[in-house]
């Protein structure tokens, strides 16, 4: 219960921070399919130049939400605003969407598929051809330009699909599991490409099950489960709110401070360090200060942060 209160506070802060610059605003959106509510009163905002991690277990309502953002379906209640306008078919040209389960035409030449996808986003043919050459070259796939999909490996197809998502230079990029099927070298490469989009102040929504990747790439996260928002905020804030006030400590002396029950709740001894659980509301900095004052020799003092993976599991379990 306490945790939920913290989350709400963070959300308020978050909204204050982003009010002026949000490029995508999802406002009290609800989507129902018959008796089933796929998305329940969901609100969030995404700011340009940041990677927004959209997380949640399977069936949480991620795909439904994304479909409403890209204009494939309309919300039953609430609204989606992109760059201050209600989502409409001409705004679709500003969005690049890479769905999780995606494909290419099996028997069509790569260049023809890319031309078609570009045409559907209203990119003039000459311009599209230039960009296709640029991206194929950048992805080191130029020699596959006139090959068919079936001639390409899965990783290559993945990169072609990514190209089709960015050919029209979208302002909002929605990537659902963009790294699945890629080898580590290509994952690094794609992360570089994303970083570039980020510096160009593009808005990036990134959906994944891989918490390590999310932790590494995302500035803000939104975790939903069972159609509802569970956790939201900047990665930093979320981690702090989920912090358990645990300190990893390697110290000689300072026993008096460690036995102070107003500060330290319990201590677990490991081989060469201690795991210190602070009392509720205690400040780690105060502990550090007292230890230094007591003349103890400190070789390690680290606040143990929960990993995004832990947060994900905790949050999901809490709502089960």
């Amino acid at each position: 219960m306490q945790k939920t209160g913290t989350t709400a506070k963070i959300l308020r802060n978050h909204n204050l921070m982003s009010e002026l610059v949000a490029s995508l605003r999802v406002d009290h959106v609800t989507k129902r399919y018959g008796d089933f509510t796929a998305v329940d009163d969901l609100s969030f905002e995404v700011r340009p130049g940041r990677v927004f991690g959209f997380l949640g277990p399977n069936g949480a309502g991620k795909t439904t939400t994304i479909r409403m953002i890209v204009g494939i379906t309309a919300p039953d209640e609430g609204s989606v605003e992109l760059f201050g306008r209600h989502i409409s078919s001409d705004l679709q040209d500003k969005i690049g969407y890479l769905p999780e389960e995606r494909g290419l035409y099996k028997k069509l030449k790569i260049v023809d598929q890319l031309r078609y996808f570009a045409a559907l986003k209203d990119v003039p043919t000459a311009e599209a051809d230039k960009r296709i050459d640029f991206w194929l070259d950048r992805m080191k796939l130029s020699e596959w330009k006139n090959k068919k999909t079936t001639d390409l490996s899965k990783g290559m197809q993945q990169k072609i699909q990514f190209i089709s998502t960015v050919l029209h230079d979208p302002d909002l990029l929605i990537l659902d599991e963009p790294f699945s099927g890629l080898d580590p070298v290509n994952v690094e490469f794609m992360i570089d490409v994303l970083a570039e989009f980020k510096t160009r102040e593009k808005t990036i929504i990134f959906s994944t099950h891989l918490m390590e990747t999310a932790e590494r790439l995302c500035n803000d996260i939104l975790l939903i489960n069972k159609s509802k928002k569970v956790v939201a905020g900047s990665l930093r804030q979320v981690k702090e709110s989920f912090g358990k006030n645990l300190i990893a400590l390697r110290v000689a002396g300072g026993d008096g401070v460690l036995n102070d029950r107003s500060l330290v709740a319990s201590i677990v001894d490991h081989a060469d360090e201690k795991e210190v659980q602070l009392t509720e509301g205690a400040d780690p900095q105060q502990l550090l200060k007292k230890l230094v004052e007591s003349g103890a020799s400190i070789s390690k003092f680290e606040e143990i942060e929960p990993s995004l993976n832990d947060i994900f599991i905790d949050a999901v379990e809490e709502t089960e």
């Binding site: 479909r67 890209v70 769905p99 099996k106």
Partner: protein, 450 residues
């Protein structure tokens, strides 16, 4: 609109710029001709000469038979049969095969056999022995009294299934015996031939202006037009379904729907594939015209043109109209089915009712051909699902009043509006539903809610 055109262009190029289109375009007429020619060709392969022993106690049949089976007589018969079959285009396949057979009657070589002093039993046993030994292929035992009512001609052959040889022999034998009987009755053969000559049946239809028109060629042309429309509708319906299923199966639909309106995507697909179908039909029509023109130039006369039914430009417009109506009617059904199923095989089953409607319409076109003005012809040619095939056939056979054509076109157009509306609703939802084939109640729900 630009996106709609992009879809049209994409779908059109996807079909036309592929070698299967080229092959299909050329293969179909070749196959059509092949079905006409191949059976005749196979039967024209001359069978081996049948060695036959003929036992004729009367001595009256053998000489005549020998004459009838001579090379000259057989060739003359073949020539006569060929002339007959040229007249008769609408003969059924079976008849054609038989006719083809008589055109290339295979030869017989008559082996001398001395039956003097042997009983019929002995002769039979002896001949069977020879057939078994392989020195003989067949034998014929002529009864002693050929004029008797119960006279039986016993023919046994190693090659009992060679109906070409059997027919040839039977004809020759019939002729020989008949001529013997006629001689006995003191009637000369030439007299009989003169008396039993077939009448000249000059059959021609009349159009509204009272002008004669050649009904044989008309039948053929109606048949070809009906078949072309029918096949194009079936083939391109399947193409539509395959394309829809691919986009659903590969989840390309998700990307497409995030780029353009589902209705534009579906209509673009129907129009693009339809244009590809028109291209193919156009190639066929133009090349058919070119062949006819070439043939008439070769034969140096306008004979062939005269025998062709007069197809006016207005008729061509009607054919095009009904082809397009039929195409959109059935293509929207196939698109709907494609959006509902998960793979092409499943689609084939689901689309079976639509395919059956097409087949029934095609079969009705024969009834329309026989009697274009019957009430059955009227009703089937204004019923939306049958009209695309039956109305063009009816127009060619006996152009109905304009109001009937207009009624038929309007009803079909109404059908298209309803079906496209239904298909668009199902398409919007079905394309994003993965995993399993939708049930009919589910589809109904999509139609109601979307």
């Amino acid at each position: 609109m630009r996106k709609f055109l992009a879809v049209v262009k994409h779908e059109y190029k996807k079909i036309v710029l592929r070698w299967t289109f080229l092959i299909g375009t050329f293969l179909f007429p070749v196959l059509g001709i092949g079905f006409g020619i191949v059976p005749a060709f196979i039967f024209s392969l001359k069978g081996e000469v049948t060695r036959i022993a003929i036992v004729d106690p009367s001595g009256e049949v053998l000489p005549r038979l020998r004459e009838n089976l001579s090379d000259e007589a057989v060739t003359a018969k073949v020539r006569e049969a060929a002339k007959q079959s040229m007249k008769d285009i609408s003969a059924t396949q079976e008849e054609r095969m038989k006719k083809g057979a008589s055109q290339i009657a295979s030869g017989f070589s008559i082996v001398d056999y001395d039956a003097a002093g042997k009983s019929t039993q002995e002769i039979r046993a002896d001949l069977i022995e020879k057939v078994k030994a392989g020195s003989l292929d067949a034998y014929l035992i002529v009864p002693a009294n050929i004029s008797a009512n119960d006279a039986v001609f016993e023919f046994r052959s190693r090659k009992g299934g060679d109906f070409v040889a059997n027919d040839t022999l039977k004809d020759a034998l019939n002729q020989a015996v008949r001529s013997k009987r006629l001689t006995d009755a003191k009637i000369s053969e030439s007299q009989v031939r003169a008396l039993s000559q077939d009448i000249e049946f000059d059959s021609k239809g009349l159009d509204e202006q009272g002008q004669e028109k050649n009904s044989d060629m008309l039948m053929a042309a109606s048949f070809v037009i009906g078949l072309m429309i029918y096949i194009t509708l079936v083939v391109y319906g399947q193409v539509i379904m395959g394309a829809v299923v691919e986009e659903k199966d590969t989840r390309i639909a998700e990307i497409l729907f995030s780029s353009a309106k589902p209705f534009d995507l579906m209509m673009g697909k129907l129009v693009g594939v339809g244009l590809a179908g028109l291209t193919q039909l156009g190639i066929w029509v133009v090349s058919l015209g070119a062949i006819v023109a070439y043939l008439s130039a070769m034969s140096g006369s306008a004979e062939i043109f005269k025998s062709l039914p007069s197809i006016t430009p207005l008729m061509m417009v009607y054919f095009l109209l009904f082809f397009l109506l039929g195409y959109f009617l059935f293509a929207s059904i196939y698109a709907l089915v494609g959006a509902v199923v998960t793979n092409v095989q499943e689609g084939g089953q689901f689309a079976l009712p639509a395919t059956l409607l097409l087949v029934i319409g095609y079969l009705f076109s024969f009834a329309v051909l026989r009697d274009p003005n019957s009430s059955l012809s009227f009703w089937v040619s204004i019923t939306p699902f049958f009209a695309p095939v039956t109305m063009p056939v009816r127009i060619l056979a006996e152009t109905p009043p304009f109001w009937q054509i207009a009624l038929s076109a309007s009803l079909t157009a109404l059908g298209i509006v309803i079906l496209v509306w239904l298909a668009a609703r199902v398409y919007r939802i079905g394309m994003l539903m993965y995993g399993k084939r939708a049930t009919v109640p589910e589809i109904w729900k999509w139609i109601r809610t979307s």
